[in-house]
Structure formats: structure tokens, C-alpha cells
């Protein structure tokens, strides 16, 4: 009687374990942080690209309009892929594109912008990567769409045609 009871418990137990492992198989084992949507934008002070002046984040995001923050570097290959989308968006009046130049040499970055054109209204430099951490980013490129000083959309990796049209739809 006792062993019978125990065996039933064990069967149920292993059944549950099986089910959980089975479910777990379908989950990706690569961790992607939850999208920090509706978070306030971080506040920071950073150097402006190509000058020695510093700027506060409050001075950059001073309006209640759409901003697109793009983390990029000249050495990052996927950044070149998404560049045409950024140029396209830069023509749009509803959005201001802010670049964060991530761990880059200034010459290389200038060369990059010279070759592919500059979609950014303001570029700030992130020489040691800490500003990107403030944003919760962990790679290049990453893009944040901001409205009312809140992050409303986040794209990890290069912007592609889908995310591009989503952004366009939002800012219309």
C-alpha cells in the first residue's frame, strides 16, 4: 500500500519533469533582455562628436517629439546594412535621429560618415561603452524609439525592412 502510493507520486513527479523539459526544449537558450518599453530615458552627460563640449541628455531630448537613438560604430558591419534606413528616416520631419558613436576612433567614424552620409542630428561619443549600458544596450547596433521621454520601441541588431516600416507607422 505504502509503496504503491510512493510509486504513484514518483510517476506523477517524473511526468511533470518530463513535461517541463519538453516545454523547455522549445525555448531559446539565448537570453535577450526583456524590452524596456515605457521606461524613462536615462540621464547622462556626454561629449559631442567632433568637439570638446559636453552635453546633458536633458538638452538633447528637450521636446516631446519622437527621437530615434541609434548606437553605431564604424567597425560594425551590420551598421552599414541599416544605414540606408537611417538616411531615409532622417528626411522625415517627425523624428530626430541621435547617434551614439560606440567605442570608435574619431577618424574612422568621420570617414564612415563621409562615405555613407550622416543621418544624425546630434552625435555623442561613448568611448568606454558606459553610456550604452545606461540605455540597457549590449551590442552594436541598437536602436531606441523615444516619445514623451519614454522608450516606446527597441531594436536589437540592425534595423531591417520590417522594423523600418514599423517605425514609420508609429511616427506618422
Amino acid at each position: 500500500m505504502k509503496t504503491n502510493f510512493l510509486s504513484k507520486i514518483l510517476i506523477v513527479f517524473f511526468g511533470v519533469v518530463f513535461f517541463i523539459f519538453y516545454k523547455g526544449l522549445n525555448n531559446s537558450n539565448i537570453y535577450v533582455p526583456k524590452v524596456n518599453i515605457d521606461k524613462n530615458i536615462p540621464s547622462f552627460t556626454a561629449k559631442i562628436f567632433n568637439s570638446s563640449t559636453k552635453i546633458k541628455s536633458e538638452e538633447i531630448f528637450n521636446n516631446n517629439q519622437f527621437y530615434l537613438v541609434n548606437i553605431w560604430a564604424s567597425w560594425c558591419i551590420p551598421c552599414r546594412e541599416e544605414h540606408s534606413f537611417l538616411l531615409d528616416l532622417s528626411k522625415n520631419k517627425n523624428v530626430i535621429i541621435i547617434g551614439i558613436n560606440y567605442k570608435d576612433k574619431i577618424q574612422n567614424a568621420k570617414f564612415f560618415l563621409g562615405e555613407f552620409k550622416n543621418p544624425y542630428k546630434i552625435i555623442i561619443r561613448d568611448t568606454d561603452g558606459t553610456i550604452s549600458i545606461d540605455w540597457g544596450a549590449y551590442g552594436v547596433p541598437e536602436t531606441f524609439l523615444i516619445s514623451n521621454k519614454k522608450i516606446i520601441k527597441r531594436i536589437t541588431g540592425p534595423i531591417n525592412i520590417d522594423s523600418f516600416s514599423e517605425i514609420k507607422e508609429i511616427i506618422q
Partner: protein
């Protein structure tokens, strides 16, 4: 003897993290406890990826600003989720994680003590 043993165990369970450490040691300690998002499976301390190097700098800055270990953890947890911490805090998500092994230990002890004959026969 036995009583002393248990006392020791209880004492150690609580006295673990209280150590004075210098800045550098503190930085190592913190970065060893952070998981890298680029080479997932390594700690920030072990990793040499761009991301890990930035976090190392950031942790250094925060220590110099006078932030405590827990404040730094909270900050990073807020940015990247609880996943980034190797040492999960005791919370509703981790009750079982922390208590189940202890529970198993206690149950094991109970089963064991039933098998013993304490009195001399």
C-alpha cells in the same frame, strides 16, 4: 559536539558575505557575479568582449562614486533583468531554489536518524 556542529552551520549560513575588501577586490567580486550577455555562460570578469569591458569600467566608476555592491546590482538588474546576476536574490522566484536543497538535507537527516539506534543495547 553535535549541537556545536549545527550552531556552526547556522552561523556560517548567515555570516557569509561580510568581508571587507579593497576597491579592486570589490570590483573583481562584483564582476565575477555578473553574467556576460555576449558570451552567455561566462562571467563579466572572465569575458573579454566589448560589453564585458564596458561593464568592468562602469562597475569601477560606480564603486568610486561610492555606490554599494547592492546598488550596483540593482542598477544592472534594472537594465538587463535578473538574469545578469549569478547570485540570485532570495525572492518569490527563487524560494524553491534556495530552500529545496536545505529541505532535502533536513528530510535526509530525518530518514537517517530513524535508522539509528541511539541507546546501547
Amino acid at each position: 559536539m553535535k549541537f556545536l556542529k549545527y550552531l556552526f552551520i547556522i552561523f556560517f549560513l548567515f555570516s557569509f558575505n561580510y568581508s571587507k575588501a579593497e576597491n579592486n577586490n570589490l570590483q573583481n567580486k562584483i564582476t565575477k557575479n555578473l553574467r556576460c550577455l555576449i558570451c552567455q555562460g561566462q562571467s563579466i570578469y572572465d569575458s573579454d568582449s566589448e560589453f564585458a569591458n564596458s561593464i568592468k569600467i562602469l562597475v569601477d566608476q560606480k564603486i568610486n562614486e561610492g555606490q554599494t555592491e547592492n546598488q550596483i546590482y540593482e542598477y544592472l538588474k534594472d537594465k538587463y533583468g535578473e538574469w545578469i546576476l549569478y547570485d540570485p536574490k532570495f525572492s518569490k522566484n527563487t524560494y524553491f531554489l534556495w530552500l529545496l536543497p536545505i529541505l532535502i538535507f533536513i528530510i535526509g537527516g530525518a530518514i537517517l536518524s530513524k535508522l539509528f539506534i541511539i541507546k546501547k543495547s
